[in-house]
């Protein structure tokens, strides 16, 4: 439970262990951002719900981490939920958690599933006293948090995109099974992101349609436009990568099967060249009483010569037809 309380002149940042301590920040005129890590303690949530007189649905929504990103307007507050994603570079996988935001007049509460978030740049801006964020109220803070979440979508997509582009270079030469599995992994992650981005985009569009007192600030409208642009960009780049991966999968399969076909063709041609030679040897292995060639002085060498001529002739013919 971390509190950042700020107005234009001052900023207080502290770690709370008792919920009661928060009251003095709430009551002040300054904007208060209450950030709660971990949802393991339902009684705390109950307490918060009661303290701020939140609808019970909000409390249960906060606890339900499987829900779709959504926006819900209540009399006393605005509830927003979205998936927060981070890229775990070590394990090369996307980590996702549900983020719930409750915005009131002078208070914004953010609920995360786990410790660790993507909000440090926002905290930094607050601490450094950037004028815009320090003077704009909870709606701008909400925007700033959503903005950083969506920026992280773009960042993760860029990370995945780098791996995809790296694979794209390899795919022309390498046909190992690992490559295919890597492509499959990336495809699954891109699809997973897409499934989260689509309803998030819906939600972002929903925000700008809400005509509530929280959003009347004309000056901020342009920010929501930018958010919309960014989430659309995220979706489009996810779609772009998905198409690239599908293409790569096709190229991979084509490469593998064309390589296999080349091998099989070579082996077949190799076999075929020996077939008439073995036949000729078979002919002179027969035990007929009367095979004149067998008694020629150089019969054996003539046979060899004929064989070599036949073999070279076939190879020449196949080469000329462009078969290998």
């Amino acid at each position: 439970m971390r509190v950042i309380d700020f107005d234009e002149e001052q900023l207080h940042e502290l770690q709370l262990y008792e919920f009661a301590e928060i009251n003095k920040y709430i009551d002040s005129d300054s904007v208060t951002w209450l950030n709660i890590d971990g949802l393991h303690d339902p009684s705390l949530l109950e307490q918060i719900g009661k303290a701020f007189d939140l609808d019970r649905i909000i409390v249960s929504d906060v606890l339900n981490t499987d829900q779709r990103p959504k926006i819900q307007e209540y009399d006393e507050c605005l509830y927003v939920s979205i998936k927060m994603m981070r890229y775990n570079e070590a394990e090369r996988e996307v980590v996702t958690e549900n983020l719930s935001l409750v915005m009131m007049e002078d208070l914004l509460i953010s609920f995360q599933e786990m410790k660790g978030d993507v909000f440090d740049p926002v905290r930094e801006r607050l601490r450094k006293g950037k004028k815009k964020i320090r003077t704009s109220g909870t709606d701008y803070l909400l925007f700033a948090l959503l903005d950083i979440v969506i920026d992280h979508y773009l960042y993760i997509l860029a990370q995945l995109g780098e791996r995809i582009e790296f694979l794209e270079d390899q795919i022309m030469t390498d046909t190992s099974r690992e490559l295919l599995e890597e492509i499959g992994d990336l495809k699954r992650e891109i699809n997973f992101m897409r499934r989260n981005i689509v309803p998030a985009r819906e939600m972002i569009h929903g925000i700008s349609k809400i005509e509530s007192d929280y959003f009347v600030d004309v000056e901020n409208e342009v920010h929501w436009q930018e958010l919309k642009g960014n989430i659309s960009l995220a979706l489009e780049s996810a779609d772009g990568y998905r198409d690239m991966l599908s293409d790569m999968m096709n190229i991979y399969h084509t490469s593998v099967s064309s390589k296999l076909n080349d091998v099989m063709k070579f082996l077949t041609i190799f076999s075929v060249v020996f077939i008439p030679l073995t036949f000729i040897a078979g002919i002179y292995g027969t035990n007929f009483d009367n095979i004149p060639e067998l008694h020629f002085e150089h019969g054996y060498y003539v046979m060899w010569s004929v064989m070599i001529v036949v073999a070279l002739g076939m190879i020449y013919y196949f080469k000329r037809r462009g078969w290998f």
Copy 2:
């Protein structure tokens, strides 16, 4: 025929065998939920239709279990139909039945095709006297029933999802035909669910557009929003699983064909190695009078040596080219 009659203070729950018995519950101010299992007795339906003065179309709609989920507003009531699905764990299949709901001022009638339903949690909440459901009227009861039906969609999807994820691990190693049939089964069930979820979503969206006296309760609007979110979530997760199954099918086919190709390549290479050896043996099986090699003291061993060198040379060459 089961009746639950309740208001804030009291709840009566009983099994009816005679339709006439119901009248005293109807006439009271309390909310009455009449649940009818099985549609085998059309005369009972006729009786109900007459008693509550229902449009004849409603009666025929209740009997027509093949219809699409829909919502229809009448002067005296609201008619809602949806597919109720349960997951039969033993047979691992989705069981579906048509559910018709007729909502009037103080009465909600639910018609099911078969005994057994998914409503026990609602009954439990009623019995335990949860304040919200006991005080909110038939519209909230309708919501609660639809909510539990759609929760079951999500539950079934989660069950199928578990089987799908279990298969996904297997698919990399196992290429048995049973796996393919299992994937086909799951695909059919997911498609079947999708076909029911799509019109159900349409219907749920239809409810919130109805401006009737039954739905004016502003407090409940947020519940319908949640229902919409859930049914959209169901559809999205069905779509997600469908894509996963398609991918798995492709992976399966790729695995099978790549395994087959490996076998065929191995066999072909094996054959090809023997071809020149058999040819050499053929050469020395010819009966020419004059084949000097045959009369060398160690000719036979030299032939073996040559053969071994040729075979190893070919194996080395194929290995170096990465052919096996």
Copy 3:
């Protein structure tokens, strides 16, 4: 040319041969349904057009049997066209013809291309004096005719569906070419139906948007809703069957190619087992002066033993690798 003239009390049904005879039915207050089989006689159409003062476009639309289902409002009448489909059980094919309906105040004219239609249930209801249809005017009659036409779509889809489900059971075991052709036939018929259902649905939706005096009857609105539900159901089930057929086609091709692959693999393995054996025989068929094995007393039997060991070894190895 068949006339059914009815009001609540009485019904006249007769076959007309002279167009003039109809006048007395038209002039009465009762509802008149004039059904015309066959469009081979343009002069009759001209006569009808003149008699009822129809727009010339209507007459040419009636004659143009290739047109899309559509609805067109005129000052004096409403023109509706739709494809009427029947399932020819003997030839197992869908027969289609264009149906044009012209609705006026007390008169409904239906134009069919061929003798034979799907309207008998409507006629039966009229004859039996069902109150609803006998008292409701031409708009309900129009509804009843369209309803029966669309019911037939559903019926045909159910027929095709049965054949599809029957094939689905066979497809796992049978891979004959006839099955593929049957699937192709069904696919073509489903596609054909889809192409007719889509614009029909558009047309049905168009009807309920028309705000004319013919459709003000609030009581009937619910029927049009049902019609919409049915045509959507038809489209969805056509889509469902189309997907099933595509899946079946894939399963068929997979089955065929997997069966072929099994055969080829078996044959290849069979050949491969003989290759070293033939090589060994080749070795001892060479004519070297000095091959010690040839002079062992049991050399021949030892060769056989070696061959059997090699063959069994290979079979064991292939089996253990799961190659057959």
Copy 4:
């Protein structure tokens, strides 16, 4: 430059070589249709533009034959462009040219790229003095020209459809490469038409949304409805043919590969039958001192018998397994 000037009573048709000659027709009250073949003479266009005070954009649009079908409203006129297509039966290809129509109060100018058009039926109707077209003004003339253009789309689609249906019968038996190329050609032409029909449909829908003085004539509205129906029909039938061609391509590939597979299977089975026979011959070609069978009196015949039995046994086995 061809002029047709008409009103209800009279019609003048003439070929103009000097642009100035046209003035007397323009000034009259009668409707004038000025048709210009070929756009090779920009100065003529400039002259026309100046004479009728057309926006310079119109002139440049007329010259730009690569543009999309579109409709543009100006103060003094309405500009419509569409692709005119004709089917060259000799070369079996679709010929396309851009058609620009400029409609003013009493004047309609049509610009074509090449000599030769599809308007003869309209001219014929004008000459024969059909009342509708002679009395309805330039808007009906515009409709008549667009109608004939779109009728030609349908006609071309019907021509292509005939070739497609003819191919469909062949495809079951014939697997020549020419067939595939023919399918490819047809696919390209259908796609080409689709690309022109889609924006044309957009344009036709655009016309009926224009609320200008040129289109107030209620009587004509039904004609624009028909035009919409026809262009939709064209698009749907193009889509239908496209699907048929895709299906045919799949059937072709399936046929080719199944035919090839049959050949390969036959050849493989043929080879496999000989393998054990050759092995047996190899056995008795060995030079062991002590092979008792060689000295049996009928050993040679016994070997033949064994071989025949083995071969027949294998053939019987393969047949019973349904392998050929």
Copy 5:
């Protein structure tokens, strides 16, 4: 930093090195176009932002070259961004850079990433004193710049289209791997363009919906219509080329695999013809005491004759069955 300042009578064009120098052009009544090449100098941007009192968001948008094409209305100006594309003929690749346009009453600022642009034709028109562009204000200048950008899209698509059509001719005969890579390259470039054209089209449509004082000029509306038509044409032709490339890829794969199949079939038939011949030779290579044929005077020649008859018979049979 290049300035073009013009009104109907005069035009000043100059290269600026000091930002302050611009003031005198700004203050005049004439239209000023300030073009800035390269975004490497953020301080210059800051300076410009301050001088014209631009929103800080505009400045950061100008610097963010990864953004989607968009349009944003501010109180004091209109911000438009789009991707400018050029075709590098030498490297045969599409070069793209972000173009930001800020339009104010008498001033249009264009920011490019790199030196070199596509605006020379606009500059030429300005210099030549074309009346329209010299007298129409910044909105027409904005249109002219966007128009030339989109014209370049069409030009690049035409360039790519030429390469595609050139490949299409080759694909029937050539099956080299380079061709496939070329197709892949083109596909990637077309997809890349598509991803830029789609949001650009959105943006262009957005412009015509803006009801600001900058766009009231009715006369110019028709130009924006044309821009819309052009960007739609670009999208449609990109889609058309994409379909062509997909078809070509399929044709390529079909050609390759059909060529391979022909080779394999030929080789297999070749082998199969020798199999019975080798078997016959094997028979007469056996060492049975009693093989009468061996002792016929012409036995050896008879064997040859039989072999030739068998081989020709097989070849005849295979030919008649159409196998090669």
